[in-house]
Point group: D2
Chain length 360, copies 4
């Protein structure tokens, strides 16, 4: 059997990485736990929670019974001092009061929320609807999209993990914008998301009876991931990108599917686009350029981002479809990929990846 | 075309029935609204709600936009005086403080909850986990299962509408117990229910991410519908019935499916069971004895209860499967069927029924 | 209670309309049956099917047991002669050999498929992938979108019922194009559909295990509904409309949700758009312009099309979301609406509608 | 962090196990591939398929793109000679013509289907509806339920992997029967299953539109897993067990949930049952006796069987609920567990398990 896959696990002869997860009882936190529990080179020493503090992991997530023996604690900064890495998996708006307390006291920080992705307080307050309380830290985090900012991540002590929608949109668009194959103007992004993206929710509108057999758009044209996409894509394009983005909720648990319309440069055809992607992602463990149309089920539970594209001659557009698991490549998996890079480990370690990226 | 179906609507030359719904913003209340809005002989004058008081119906249920122009109000007993009928669609435990206020001031009362189905305060407190605050009214309501207690319902001013699980279990079991074809001992009932049975919920455990791709039993052997089933079935059997009942939650919105094991009397075979059912339900508009195995999708949005059975020679049992829409035959539809009977209207009026039951 | 709703049923004193359904065993055919069975002024005399010929309706659709007593027959043109109306609910490609046989022998014809919507054989063959075998009939059918072509439908003997996606896209776009508020260039339509749109399917890719927890685009930029949308919208715009359309499959049974991006004319703002819609659909029974964002569950099982819109100042676009039940307003309900108009009945008869449109 | 979990992967210094999968394109076969691809001590050399022969794995299962580089071939016995192990993942009825060809030519055989679980041709023909064509091999396979028959499996060259329903029913019942805590008479088993249990299906009845929002029982009292359960449980009880079993289909992809009613011996109470389970499964890696009621989502994608029980004093029964992932513990995972035992490897290797079972 020729398999690209490599052992999920790296038993390092070296030192163990000591890690903490702040906000570990949410879905992203639990996904971090699930993935890190498979590793022998990482020790998760502290997991904090709000309402679930004091409970064992398997009380909140019975699936972990018999595999993870940890207890949620209340956030206590003293217990975090000296950690090699701290993952912050809090809802946006909470991290900005936590991260400043960690600075300088822990080795590295990866924030999975949205508080430190933007560099502008005005954009933050406009899209997040609140003032930023740690403006001095804005712009200090490296944007943790490894396929694009690997070198910066490797050198970073503080990483802002990308949002789920931006991950699904930036990965397919960035190389095309950078190459000039698509225009920075007129980009339209429609995404559908599973409900786990909204976190562990107790709202009526996220109840099964309301979500099941239903589809609805939300935050049309004003979702907080818009400035994040525009910021990164503008870097790629070398010009200001203003895009339209509409997120939708569909009755699935995991997964994001983004369909992107962009104006194709006259000089580019399908072969040129393929070439751009091939060059951009030749070394990427987790981007798969697909010849058929991607679908969510092919990436669920994995760290892959699948990308397909169609050139629409009639309209002069390229139509791109991309898909990720919002909790893996859109959150916890990407955070671990970033951690691996920050610790000079193979980026795919513990994530199931291609042979060449796997650790010896 | 030979159709049994008759007009859903009865345009009466006579007087209009004035109705109120207390607790109209829940799923059962909304289903009452949906069904009653189709009728010209019933005027829904007052609908009350808790948190939604003051809102229009279409703010809470946009589906009704352009079809129902009503506003939820707070419960105000003065506004209910003189109503021909009041439907109480409150969670169990709330009706027992409301119904006493209505007695003697409104024409008829149908309580869709569980507060007045049992006749014993001790059973109520054991299974519902609270003391009954209107014990003087216990036993005064007629149990509103029209296929069995039609005459009593016709004469009643106060009806306790059956629970959803009991409806699905009593309809198939009652005739067999009464005929002596099955033994009152050793009955096992396993039911699965859609989530709307739990009402409009804002709990994490009813959220989509928790219910989807999941099945779980709950309240094993201690569900509050057990004494209700045993009470009615004991009447049918003429002997005390003690049964085992396990409810399960499955990821669908509407519907209950009950699978029932009962010991078959030696004197009865499949033909005898068919005969018993044929006699019992010859005049029943909403019971369909099926030759194939019933399925939930055949009864969704309808007031039907579909019943199938298999004689298992190896074990000496009859295995019965029955299915209803929990919000229709298990709640609002059955309540309207009861109302029709109480007002001497054809029982199927406004419910979609067979020709012979249809009005005129 | 102020309700706009009117009786679903019209008991006419006049003559009964004799109807046939060709291809009645599919989902659209069954939906026609479900809706027509409620009417006393229409008699469905003949229903034909392929593999199910000879079976009773309730063998194929047990839900109809006890309510519809009809049997599928093989297609026999003699049995159709003299019918007042024939609904053709065959897969695209089959109607073009059937409709010519019916011409002149039956009163009126409504084809629910795609064979007679386009007026160009070249467009037909390009998008449907086959040659048209009745080119002489192309262009003879009136496009049956009642909100736009009511007068022509009233006078028509042959109506081509619109596709489900086009219904959801044309209704919101037509008035805006006609008014000049949006540009005919650069329109992007992304739609998601429930699986019933694909018909009763026995393919692996439509099996539950493949569709559940999945989303995928299909026929990107080449769906056969594109020319139909462009044809009708070009009429509205008075200019050639070339649009981009991407359909997606999501794990729901019924419903279409379309999200549309269009460039807003500088002279138009949100108030102007509201005004355009108000004027365009003042008399429309089944179009609801919503202030909140529409969702599929509000239109399921109904003939409504719900439309919402957001002006996106940043991009100069209007973003429209619209939703229908693909089997009702997207197929059978719209066909009945067309039939009502063709027979000079109130268009909402048997479809649940506003008071003012109701009969009498 | 105290974790029980151990590396998924064993990098053996020793020889690699050469494996083949016959019928690898079905869901069980694909699950075998998914699990085995993570191992470096197993080389999957040959995978055969019917209609998919000639295709690469990622053409049929795009999720494997970039991780598994194998091609389905037609069944060719020559290519299998000398294999260390052959997994037969064919539909029941097909394996009985394949296995005889493998006997003596390959190291070990594990049949995941039902052809070799029973020891009686008459039971086989009665429940499977066909004659057995290799009766001489009936009774030669060891029943591959490792928690009960570990020693026999370790010594076996031919293992019949248990059915999914039997796995979920035998694991909780066997110890209770063996201990005398429950009676061999009167056992009632109701199970619900996700649709992947039916395999990759192209039937209308397994299509999304038919399964979604639906529940139905099937093969009531006559499912082919009944004799298998009775055979094994009778061994445990030391007396003939005749049980009643009703399987149901629910709209989920993976998972089985079994609810079991059994008569409790007077001498046993809840504490006694706990003690029985504790003793029976002290060394079992994959059985979790739960204090709360199990749910499917806790075992999905894992090899765990979760078991909970409630003593129902009123009826003198114990009500057991158990749940597995039908494709893992109910099929491929259990097959790998058996393989591990047959090759004297830790039984949990490559399956995610407790520390004590992990390799080294």
């Amino acid at each position: 059997m020729h398999i690209y896959a490599e052992p999920f696990i790296h038993t390092t002869g070296g030192e163990v990485i000591h890690a903490a997860i702040i906000g570990a009882s949410g879905y992203s936190g639990a996904e971090l736990l699930r993935l890190l529990a498979q590793r022998t080179d990482v020790s998760v020493d502290v997991i904090t929670a709000g309402a679930s503090a004091g409970k064992s992991v398997d009380e909140v997530y019975p699936a972990f019974s018999g595999t993870i023996d940890l207890r949620f604690t209340s956030l206590d900064y003293a217990s975090l001092e000296g950690m090699d890495i701290v993952f912050v998996a809090l809802p946006s708006g909470e991290a900005m009061s936590v991260v400043p307390q960690l600075m300088g006291k822990v080795g590295r920080i990866i924030d999975l929320g949205g508080d430190f992705r933007l560099s502008s307080t005005s954009l933050y307050s406009r899209y997040y609807g609140r003032a930023h309380t740690a403006p001095e830290l804005l712009g200090t985090a490296v944007y943790g999209l490894p396929e694009i900012f690997k070198e910066q991540i490797a050198a970073a002590a503080f990483v802002a993990n990308p949002g789920c929608y931006p991950t699904s949109a930036i990965l397919p668009l960035y190389p095309l914008l950078k190459s000039g194959c698509v225009s920075p103007a007129g980009i339209v992004i429609n995404s559908v998301s599973g409900v786990s993206g909204a976190g562990r929710s107790s709202s009526v509108e996220m109840s099964f009876a309301e979500v099941n057999e239903n589809v609805r758009a939300y935050k049309v044209g004003r979702h907080q991931h818009i400035p994040e996409m525009e910021m990164v894509l503008s870097k790629g394009a070398g010009a200001e990108v203003t895009l339209s983005f509409v997120p939708h909720l569909v009755p699935i648990t995991r997964g994001i599917y983004s369909t992107i319309h962009a104006t194709l440069a006259k000089s580019c055809d399908a072969a040129a686009l393929s070439e751009v992607y091939r060059n951009a992602y030749a070394d990427a463990s987790f981007v798969r350029i697909r010849e058929s149309i991607p679908q969510i089920k092919d990436v669920v539970n994995s760290n892959f981002c699948d990308i397909g594209f169609t050139v629409d001659q009639r309209t002069g557009q390229v139509i791109i479809t991309s898909t990720i698991d919002n909790l893996v490549k859109g959150a916890a998996g990407q955070a671990i990929q970033n951690m691996n890079i920050m610790f000079a480990l193979p980026e795919g370690l513990g994530l199931g990846t291609r042979k060449e990226e796997a650790y010896v």
